[in-house]
Symmetry: C2
Subunit: 133 residues, 2 copies
Amino acid sequence: MNIGEVAKLSMVNAKMIRRYEEQGIIPKASRTFAGYRQYSEKDVHILRFVKRARELGFSMKDTKQLLGLWKNQNRSNSQVKSLAQKHKTELEEKLNEIQAMLSTLDVLIKHCHGDSRPDCPILQELECHKGRH
Amino acid sequence: MNIGEVAKLSMVNAKMIRRYEEQGIIPKASRTFAGYRQYSEKDVHILRFVKRARELGFSMKDTKQLLGLWKNQNRSNSQVKSLAQKHKTELEEKLNEIQAMLSTLDVLIKHCHGDSRPDCPILQELECHKGRH
DNA sequence: CCTTGACCTTCCCACCATGGTAAGGTTTAA
DNA sequence: TTAAACCTTACCATGGTGGGAAGGTCAAGG
C-alpha cells in the first residue's frame, strides 16, 4: 500500500504520516526499490490509534508514549491512566483560561453599544489606566 | 527610558517588545546614538494596552487592529465590538472542542482501574476498531 | 585608565502542529 | 510517447514565546 492509500484509510494526511515517521512516533516504513513507502493493514491500525489520540488532544510526545504502552504487553494500565490524567489536568487549565477570557469579553461586549459613537468601553478596559490591573 | 525599564513598567518582556515593533504592532522606537531604543510614558501605556489585549486572547493581528482603532478618534465603536465578537466566537469554539475532549477523557479515566492489569479501556478506545469512529 | 557587570543590539535556533509549494522521480493507462 | 496521478525530499510559512551566542555600551569603582 502506498502512502496515499494508507492516508485515505486512516484519515491521516500523508504529510503528517511522513512527519510522524520522522519524529519516531510510528515505525519507519519499508520502501520499494524506487523509494516509495510501503504500508500494511497493521499500519492503518496504528495510524488510526494516533489519529484518535490526537483528536483527544494528546501531544505528539504523549501519543508516542501511548503507542509504546499499547504495543507493550507488559504495561500496567496505571501508566496509561496517569498519562490521561495529566492530560486532563492540562486541558482543564486551558478550559479555565478560556472561560476567564470569555467572561471578561462578555461583560465588555454587553457594555459596548456597537453604534457609531467613538467612546468604547472595550477600548477603555484595554486601556486599563484605572488600576484595574 | 531603555527597553528594560519599559519592560518592567509594562510587564511585557523586552523580547516581545522588539517583536511587536518588528511586526508593526507598536511604532518603531527612536534610538540613541549607540542604537538603544528610547521609550516614554506613552509607550508604557501602549504596551499595557497590548498586554491586556493579549491576556484576553486577542491575536497579534487583532491587537494591532485594536490599537489602530484606539488611536483613531474617528472610529465607530461598532468596529471594536465586531472584532470582540469575532474573537468571542473563536474562543467559544475552542471551548467546545476542549469540553468534548474532556468529557470523553473523563469517561475513559473512570473506566480504567489504574492498577497493574494490562487490559486498559483507554487504549481500547484509542484502538477504536469497533467502528466507533 | 581599566575592569566588571549590567545593560543593550542583532541573529539564529528551539518548541508545537500543520500546510503550502517547488523540483524532481515513478507508475500506469490511454 | 505522453499525460495524469502518484511519490520523494527540501524549504518556507503560520503564531507566540523563549534561549543563547556574539558583540557593543554605559556606569561604578579600584
